[in-house]
Point group: C2
Chain length 206, copies 2
Amino acid sequence: MSDTKQRPYHHGDLHRALIDTALAMLAADQTWAFTLREVARRTGVSHAAPYKHFRDKEALLRELARIGFVRLGQAMETALFPGLPSSREKFVAAAQACIAFACHSPGLYRLMFSADADKAADPRLHEAAMATFGVLLRLLQEGQQDGRFRAVSITAQAAASWAQVHGLAMLAMNGQLLEEKVGPDPVRAALDVLMDGLSQSSRKGH
Amino acid sequence: MSDTKQRPYHHGDLHRALIDTALAMLAADQTWAFTLREVARRTGVSHAAPYKHFRDKEALLRELARIGFVRLGQAMETALFPGLPSSREKFVAAAQACIAFACHSPGLYRLMFSADADKAADPRLHEAAMATFGVLLRLLQEGQQDGRFRAVSITAQAAASWAQVHGLAMLAMNGQLLEEKVGPDPVRAALDVLMDGLSQSSRKGH
DNA sequence: TCCTCCATGTTTACAGGGAAAACTTTTCTG
DNA sequence: CAGAAAAGTTTTCCCTGTAAACATGGAGGA
């Protein structure tokens, strides 16, 4: 409502603007209870405008979740970059990146795994989730190939690992891993328990 | 709406009736997106009646969650009853009971761990959740005392265990542990990975 | 016994919200 | 340059959560 050029009738990229607003609100409230009307309001358009870009509110939420999975995947990949020595270290780094992501964006993380982001309702969301999951799978495969992880069903290990990492993320996010209760680095400790289960044999102190 | 006696003005136990209706709807839809008005409708009272028993919708949801925790605790205790031999077997039994509970009542389970059942907002809910969590803690303690589990920080093990069990429950509930993908008994397999991490030494095939 | 109080219901009222429909303004395209 | 499609806006509908005011009937004291 100013500058030299006044806002044109067409927003330019309302699709993206709505997503950004919604992401901001999600980050601020840590909940997706916000109303679509409020998103529109803050974006400076009428309350019906969003419906030109998203079938309904859930469609917007699914898009947010999809972006979340993409970001999470990137965060995990980035954590791997430094070329860590062992499979074990790599795995731990990726897991910690996931948990850090959850702690940094709890609202988004929760949305990603909530029923309101129904993966069956959106192939793109499903695909993004699977791709991120794939990072974990790849690490397990590498671990098995270089002989550091026990050679049992990859998918069983993946289930265990994923469950562990996701569970830890939830606990950490909710502040249920307080230092007094659970030691100095509970995430590391819990991951060590997991890694001991995955590993070929050695039980050295990481 | 008939029988010989017509419903009196006072319902008798509307509090309980509302809970029952809501639990039924939760089980039917696997979501707590139902409206309070619909709950009232199905219970056969006016849409404002519930407010005499619950401050708001969330209060009802918290009560449902509390009941869920009580039931989950009972399910786990029951699973322990047969007097299983080793700590390991007991632990696995309790974990499986938890996962079975989640698969049987996915809506309730999800509600219990959702932000809509804010434990900070209701001491009774918080207490119930902690009591259920305590079952796990007790099993770990027993395991350490009889020397079958490694004697590291109980709370670290608890975090790892809880994360694992909860994570598996979520995956199982969402049907993401399909047999083709993950072997015949993925839960058992994943728990074995965990138990191997917890255990003192032996890596026998359970 | 009867009267009055209070918990428990009901009706009414209101401020939003989600979503559809109909209308308007740009932009794109043949 | 016409006209269709895209992207906004306004209007409208029905629904929800929740508060407030009113009604009812059972329990306890005069």
